[in-house]
Amino acid sequence: MPLTLASTLVQQAHASLNPASPQVRLVDRLGTAMFVTAAVVCLLVFAALLWAALRRRSGAEPVAGGRQERPMKTAVLLATGVTTVILFVFLIFDVSVGRSITTNPGNDALQIRVTGHQWWWEVQYRDSLPKNWATTANEIHVPVGRPVVFELRSTDVIHSFWPPNLSPKRDQIPGNENSLWFQADSAGVYRGQCAEFCGHQHAKMAFLVVAEPADQFEGWLARQRDTAQTPTDSRARRGKDVFMSASCVMCHAISGTSAGSRIGPDLTHLASRRTLAAGTLPNTRENLTGWIVDPQAIKPGVKMPPNQLSGPELLALVAYLETLK
């Protein structure tokens, strides 16, 4: 089965080399400045080494001490001095970038709680009214041009939240709440991945950040707050019964139904998401079916067990899940 993710889905390369937020732009500038300096330093040292080793020599056997060592002393002192100055400049640059990144995001910032789980991301848009909360997974929508504060948590092991184009990373440590904020400059779909080793499927614990214009974002958020539609089509209705009576219901929640378990991702708007299995598969019918039948073939070690549903049950279930827009 070809597991082609997503380059079609992700418009921007997954890289800190393409900054999409002021935060990463600053870091990128710092990194570039340091890289250029480092390259020059390396070349100078290599040139000095080659010259020292290969230069033409004449005269008597070298001896320690005496006049010969005077230029050496000057050179070593000079090189040390230059090194110190470079380091000092780096330090100041670093501290100033650090300050700018950690400034206060302001009051109109959007708050999102991201909880790391083995091996997926729970995303919660909170509100003063609990009924306005929206819970989704593995796909974070943010408005362009507005600061977004992320409240980072974990309920099991340490994960690290890292969308390279948008923000430096921050660890999610159980018992130790963290936060960061960024502001997306331009609309786009950006990939992020867990950056702290977290067990078997650390490699397939990715997420997407979808930056979109504010009105589009608000529309999306409003839809996410809705409860799931009751299916009208009979096969989907039967699929809902399969969901509620089979093992699905033990772990997944669909709002507006009796399924309320929070062990796995919330599926209320599953069909609206671009990927399955934490950024591993494009969300297509074939992939969804394959995933339900044998998740272990795609993400070995993942918590979801292989399911032994009959053919019709499976088709009905997929039909139901596809209604969860």
Partner: protein, 174 residues
């Protein structure tokens, strides 16, 4: 050292695919009528597949908590449902007995989970339930979780000789 390590082989397997399909116990004889006290399977019944696999037992522990078994049985101390960490077994302490209890349910409140939990996971929970009263090897039984300490860890639980007690008076139907 070698011997100890060899013993450990099975303990460390991480078998993500679980059992081959169809290996669930589908005992046609298990019916409501058989589930009276004393109807426990004999000692030579099917051994649990995960009795020696630490990873599976620990998965079982996670599921036990995740599926809210503790909602009735608490952390083994018993509450709405009977305690699981003592020597007292109403329906038998063999893996097969426990599997059947989970899969088929028992009178007086224990629902049937046979359809909602896949067989592989039932076996994992079975193995964990047995570890709660020290019936598994200590190097297989789980350690503490990163939660409040409510009971000694399963690894340190002394093995209690299982007693087939039958339904306690208090739990009998009125």
């Amino acid at each position: 050292m070698l011997i100890l390590a060899v013993v450990g082989c099975k303990r460390e397997e991480r078998d993500f695919h679980g059992l081959p399909s169809g290996s669930a116990i589908t005992n046609p004889k298990v019916r409501e009528v058989d589930l009276v006290p004393g109807g426990a399977a004999p000692a030579d019944s099917v051994p649990g597949p995960y009795e020696e696999n630490a990873y599976a037992v620990s998965q079982g522990k996670t599921l036990y908590n995740g599926y809210n078994c503790s909602g009735c049985h608490f952390q083994g101390g018993g509450g709405i449902g009977p305690p699981l960490m003592d020597a007292d077994w109403i329906y038998g302490s063999q893996p097969q007995n426990i599997y059947e209890t989970i899969a088929e349910g028992r009178p007086n409140g224990m629902p049937s989970f046979g359809r909602k939990i896949v067989p592989d996971q039932i076996w994992q929970i079975t193995a964990y339930v047995r570890s709660m009263s020290g019936l598994l090897r200590k190097d297989v039984a789980p350690g503490r979780t990163d939660d409040m300490q409510v009971r000694p860890q399963e690894q340190s639980t002394q093995k209690a000789k299982p007693v087939q007690s039958g339904i306690p008076k208090s739990a009998e139907l009125p």
